[in-house]
């Protein structure tokens, strides 16, 4: 199998309401819970513009390379430099080692401690920018990636950054003793990783056994960020509590279950060009205060205990950001929207007409308005709009049209009885939604139940909790199951729609030779401009086969004091603090 750069998923976004979600979940979650992590880049953002930049991916791009070294710094700070910022973060990091973690919380902190070889950011006109690598060259078969590295860069512990450091980092990820999560998925999708060779001090070559078209995306993600080789030696298994990178901030302390503090790296002088300047970060210190409960996060922003926070309840978000005291930031992110997976092997959802009828019968706008008071956007495509493979045309395949739904069912022989509920050959039209309590679908499932009833489909809902639900869904006891997925590269499709993923996340139990073939093709290609049409086609097929119902597009939702300014974001929506000021 070959997949690539999924950056992961694990963790959980529990949160919003129940106290039990509290924790930080874990692993797996993906699903629902998900998290994911890793960040990284992806082509997305700018698929449109990417064609112009496609040179970047296949033969070397150099260029902007050396980050405006020295004096060219231009952009003025948005506010007054200096001072401390307190960020109320919802999840406790599992480790701060980017090469091991699977959690979003870790990624959010680490993108400020580490630089990546390649940068992919939102609101830029190229998909990739030089980071620690000044240029890269990709072999036509997408198996060999050669990076030319910046010179003069130092890790926070004084170690020089060079080819050996990249090799050591990748070696650390591949070492079974590290028990790597997201990074292993990025570096070694489907066991495709070959080797990393330090050609000379500033040239490193990464070779794969099979094509890995998503790898540039993967190295733009935090999970493959170079780590100080000395720190790996010195701390061994505890390197996760002593992260040492090259980034604009340095690790200071981590009081478990309480906070992580990072401080400005005064020597930082290798910022990637999209930041528009160089030199040290503006903030002296950032405290990531861990606050698991959403309502508590809202209060702490309001009473000034934190300067910014995330994952507020929609009510708190609207209340706090509408009165003018706080700013609300809704940042695009990548992957699969909140959606419902439809099991295509269990009656009656093994019938295409039934699945399509459900697509037409779902009123997403009303769901979003009712439950999230407009914080999120209703989804009609199977990927978030910033993900490569998104296309406007996908959004018009199904709209809310209950009459059409009824017609489809009627034509398929599902006739309405006197109570309006349908049946065929004496068998009632009844579907089972297996919900994961507390993972964000409780309200959605109930509203869908009412909407389906309007067209004559009876929907039963049962509740299970994570992780037990995984077994149930693998068995296929359900007709419908909740899902969402954070991933920066569209090759995540391999983990979701491919035949081989039936043992992991393909809870649709969907197996289609055309789909498997398209997934494979996407994998072979590294040029974003050529990959986009492949994934658009794939997504069309997914929608036409009606194997999932998109509900709403994910977004990273932050709220901050008005004085906090200067954000830039990773492609999947995590804030870089390099240019941020808080006064």
């Amino acid at each position: 199998m070959k997949t690539d750069g999924i950056q992961a998923v694990v963790g959980a976004r529990l949160s919003r309401r129940s106290l039990l979600r509290i924790g930080g979940a874990v692993g797996g979650a993906t699903v629902l819970a998900g998290i994911l992590a890793a960040c990284g880049g992806s082509d997305d953002t700018t698929t449109a513009a990417s064609s112009s930049a496609s040179g970047t991916s296949s033969s070397s791009s150099s260029g902007a390379a050396s980050p405006s070294a020295g004096g060219a710094s231009t952009q003025a700070p948005a506010g007054e430099p200096g001072g401390k910022l307190i960020y109320g973060i919802w999840q406790n990091p599992d480790t701060l080692d980017p090469g091991v973690s699977g959690l979003i919380a870790t990624s959010k902190i680490d993108i400020n401690l580490f630089d990546t070889l390649v940068y992919a950011m939102q609101e830029t006109d190229q998909p990739y920018y030089p980071g620690l690598a000044t240029k890269w060259d990709i072999s036509p078969d997408a198996t060999t990636f050669t990076f030319t590295l910046q010179t003069g860069v130092k890790f926070h512990d004084g170690d020089p950054f060079n080819a050996a450091a990249v090799k050591a980092t990748f070696g650390h990820i591949m070492d079974p003793a590290s028990k790597s999560l997201s990074a292993l998925g990025s570096l070694n999708p489907g066991d495709s990783y070959g080797s990393t060779e330090a050609v000379d001090e500033s040239t490193v070559k990464v070779t794969f056994k099979v094509a890995n078209g998503g790898f540039l995306n993967a190295v733009s993600g935090i999970s493959l960020a170079p780590v100080s080789p000395s720190s790996l030696q010195k701390y061994g298994a505890d390197v996760g509590s002593h992260p040492v990178g090259t980034g604009p901030f340095m690790f200071k302390e981590w009081i478990k279950q309480d906070h992580v503090t990072i401080v400005k790296n005064p020597d930082y002088n290798w910022a990637p060009s999209p930041f528009g300047r160089n030199g040290a970060a503006y903030l002296d210190e950032i405290v990531f205060q861990i606050i698991p409960e959403a309502s508590t996060r809202g209060v702490t922003l309001q009473n000034g205990e934190v300067d910014m926070t995330e994952e507020l309840t929609p009510d708190d978000f609207n209340r706090l950001t509408s009165n003018g005291d706080f700013q609300g930031l809704k940042i695009k992110t990548t992957g699969m929207p909140y959606d419902i997976m439809i099991n295509v092997t269990k009656a009656p959802t093994d019938e295409l007409a039934v699945r399509q009828a459900m697509e037409f019968a779902t009123d997403k706008k009303s769901i979003v308005d009712t439950l999230f008071t407009g914080v999120y956007e209703p989804a009609f495509a199977p990927v978030d709009p910033t993900t490569l493979g998104f296309d406007k045309s996908l959004e018009s395949i199904y709209t809310f049209d209950p009459d059409k739904a009824k017609q489809l069912l009627e034509d398929a022989g599902w006739k309405a009885g006197s109570d309006g509920m349908r049946s065929k050959d004496g068998k009632a039209l009844e579907v089972l939604f297996i919900n994961l309590s507390g993972f964000g679908f409780d309200g959605i499932s109930q509203l869908m139940q009412a909407q389906f009833k309007d067209v004559g489909i009876k929907m039963n809902i049962t509740e299970q909790s994570f992780p037990a639900v995984q077994d149930t869904l693998h068995r296929g006891d359900h007709n419908l199951a909740p899902f969402f997925f954070y991933a920066v590269d569209p090759s995540f499709a391999n983990s979701i729609y491919s035949t081989e993923a039936i043992s992991t996340f393909n809870w649709m139990h969907y197996s289609n030779a055309d789909v498997d073939k398209m997934i494979n093709e996407g994998q072979q290609e590294s040029d974003p401009a050529k990959r986009a049409p492949i994934y658009i086609e794939l997504n069309k097929k997914i929608m036409n086969d009606a194997v999932m119902i998109p509900i709403y597009y994910k977004a990273v939702v932050l709220a901050a004091k008005k004085s906090v300014k200067g954000f830039r974001y990773t492609v999947n929506g995590f804030p870089f603090f390099y240019n941020v000021t808080a006064k």
Partner: protein
């Protein structure tokens, strides 16, 4: 007394041993595979899954794993967390002081408020003071502690900025979570004290005390209360264990450090070593509290003999 203590200690150890078996088996039989959870999103191949399973010893039969676990635990090694890779023992020891601080503070509040309300209600029985105390206490029993916690945060962290809503360390950070956790128990203690005190006040020796002209506070304080407290002590011992459990919710609500936070994360990720470690510690706390309760009977009521 000595023989009694030894017997109780042995019983306590047996209890802990039982707890360890139950927890181990519970995790074993709960659906969901820790290795799959750990590797989710990493596109692991079946070999990678097998390697990790082997590394964690999960390919061994359950009894082998249990024996290994107990052998290591007896040597002070509770294993490493699957999720964070840190030593379970050091993770627990790092978080334990904060949980104990919260639990003891909550216990103090429960006892102080419970005694005051209970005594007032008993000696002013059937007056408005009695009704008021008992209604406040009914409210305390009925209200979920996380909701009370939210109300306290809104009232005293947001509207009147008296205390911080979050964080660990120092008395200011402790007041709100301790009240949120302790209030419900205060209510139970108050009702128990009232009931018990009223009963004692009917006894002959109280009449005797009054008849010989003792002032009322001496009657209540020296004679009645001491006897009325025996059932209360039992309850307080049991409450300590409950509080450890409820601290899970309060710690998350107030973003405090504590072992409760470890177990929530641990359960969701099927982090066997972490869950086992925390449960063992909590069980030990419970058992210890009960042991202390038994011993304290000797001082409260010399009629109870440890033979």
């Amino acid at each position: 007394m000595q023989a009694f203590l030894i017997r109780r200690l042995v019983q306590s150890l047996l209890t802990l041993f039982g707890v360890s078996i139950v927890v181990f088996l519970m995790l074993y039989f709960t659906p969901g595979d820790p290795v799959t959870i750990m590797l989710q999103g990493s596109n692991a191949t079946p070999q990678q899954v097998e390697t990790l399973r082997h590394q964690l010893g999960l390919d061994q039969p359950v009894y082998v794993r249990y024996v290994d676990y107990v052998t290591n635990a007896l040597q002070g090694d509770l294993g490493r967390s699957y999720q964070t890779r840190e030593s379970v023992l050091s993770a627990i020891l790092a978080q334990l002081p904060s949980t104990l601080e919260l639990t003891f503070a909550a216990l103090f509040i429960a006892i102080a408020i419970g005694l005051i309300f209970g005594i007032i209600a008993a000696i002013r029985r059937d007056t408005w003071l009695d009704t008021l105390s008992m209604n406040i206490s009914l409210f305390g029993v009925s209200i979920p502690n996380f909701w009370l916690g939210m109300l306290l945060i809104l009232a005293f962290s947001l509207h009147v900025k008296l205390f911080p809503a979050i964080g660990t360390g120092g008395i200011r950070h402790l007041v709100l979570p301790a009240v949120a956790l302790g209030w419900g128990y205060a209510a139970i203690i108050a009702r128990l004290v009232r009931h018990s005190l009223i009963e004692v006040l009917h006894h002959d020796y109280i009449k005797t005390a009054r008849a010989k002209g003792l002032v009322e506070h001496a009657v209540i304080g020296r004679h009645a209360l001491k006897n009325a407290l025996i059932p209360v002590v039992t309850i307080v011992g049991l409450q300590f264990g409950h509080m450890l459990a409820n601290a899970v919710i309060i710690e998350s609500l107030f973003a405090r450090q504590g072992i409760g936070r470890l177990i929530v994360t641990g359960i969701l990720s099927k982090d066997f070593p972490m869950v086992q470690g925390v449960v063992l510690f909590a069980a030990a706390g419970y058992v210890l509290a009960n042991l202390l309760v038994d011993v304290s009977y000797a001082f409260l009521d010399p009629r109870i003999r440890f033979s």
